[in-house]
């Protein structure tokens, strides 16, 4: 039986795939970044369709910000950000297509062949989900969550250290 959830899953799944494909099919870097933004928003909506409300909203908010920053970086660092020069930005194209297709077919094959057991019909509502996720973070997964915090701090320090101008350190 085709449910509303399945129809929404297919619509927004196809949107995520279409925009994901457009990322690598346009010459304009700004369009690439906006396509990736649209793909990530479609993934966030897929989370909402699968009734993971908190993660869906978080995904849309985080990726909206990250992709906007990515668009700025692309305009800064690309030789031809508008795509007017029709630069060729590909290498090993046939190998890449083969790798992408083979991996997709293998994963789809595994998904279809596996015995997934019984599908859950009972699941917590949005308020209960937030409470249980909070309890998970504050109890069993507290160390993992704190590790994520330390990892973010390490990433920030590493990013600043890598991006520092070499000229300044030579002058010292």
């Amino acid at each position: 039986m085709i449910s509303v959830q399945l129809i929404l899953l297919i619509i927004f799944g196809l949107a995520a795939i279409w925009f994901g494909w457009r990322v690598f099919m346009t010459s304009s870097m700004v369009r690439s970044a906006l396509s990736l933004l649209a793909s990530m928003v479609a993934i966030g909506i897929l989370f909402l369709v699968m009734e993971a409300e908190f993660l869906g909203v978080l995904q849309i908010m985080m990726m909206g910000t990250e992709m906007s920053i990515m668009a700025i970086f692309m305009m800064m660092y690309m030789m031809d950000p508008g795509g007017l020069g029709q630069m060729d930005m590909y290498h090993q194209k046939n190998i890449s297509i083969a790798a992408g297709v083979i991996v997709t077919v293998l994963i789809v094959g595994a998904a279809l062949a596996a015995d997934w057991g019984t599908i859950a019909t009972q699941f917590p509502g949005p308020h209960e989900q937030n409470r249980l996720l909070g309890m998970e973070i504050l109890k069993r997964s507290m160390m993992i969550f704190e590790t994520a915090g330390v990892t973010i701090l390490t990433g920030m320090i590493a990013s600043i250290a890598v991006a520092l101008s070499i000229k300044n350190s030579v002058e010292k």
Partner: protein, 102 residues
């Protein structure tokens, strides 16, 4: 069952597109976009496994939060490397970064 399989197929196709992008692009920022797509696909899988197989296991949602952290960090460190590459060689084309092979 068809809901879980549909979500897994969507994630598989997105992962394949991301892999194609990461392998075929010559620009560092475009390679990062491919990696972002692959991480997005992995998160769809995780949410589908949580919703349709183990809705009581919130460690799966916790895992999605960790994957989002990895995505943000990958962006930050990747842009830092791009900034340094642009400063030293004036380009972020990976074809011209053969000396990074070590």
């Amino acid at each position: 069952m068809e809901l879980l399989i549909t979500a897994l197929i969507i994630a598989a196709v997105l992962f394949g597109i991301g892999l194609y992008g990461a392998l075929s692009q010559t620009n560092l920022v475009m390679i990062m976009m491919g990696i972002e797509l692959m991480l997005g696909a992995s998160m769809i899988n995780l949410v589908a496994f949580w919703r349709y197989l183990h809705p009581e296991a919130f460690s799966i949602q916790m895992f999605v939060l960790i994957a989002m952290t990895v995505m943000a960090l990958e962006g930050a460190v990747g842009f830092a490397i791009a900034t340094q590459r642009f400063r030293t060689s004036g380009t972020v084309e990976m074809e011209e970064s053969a000396e990074l092979k070590g």
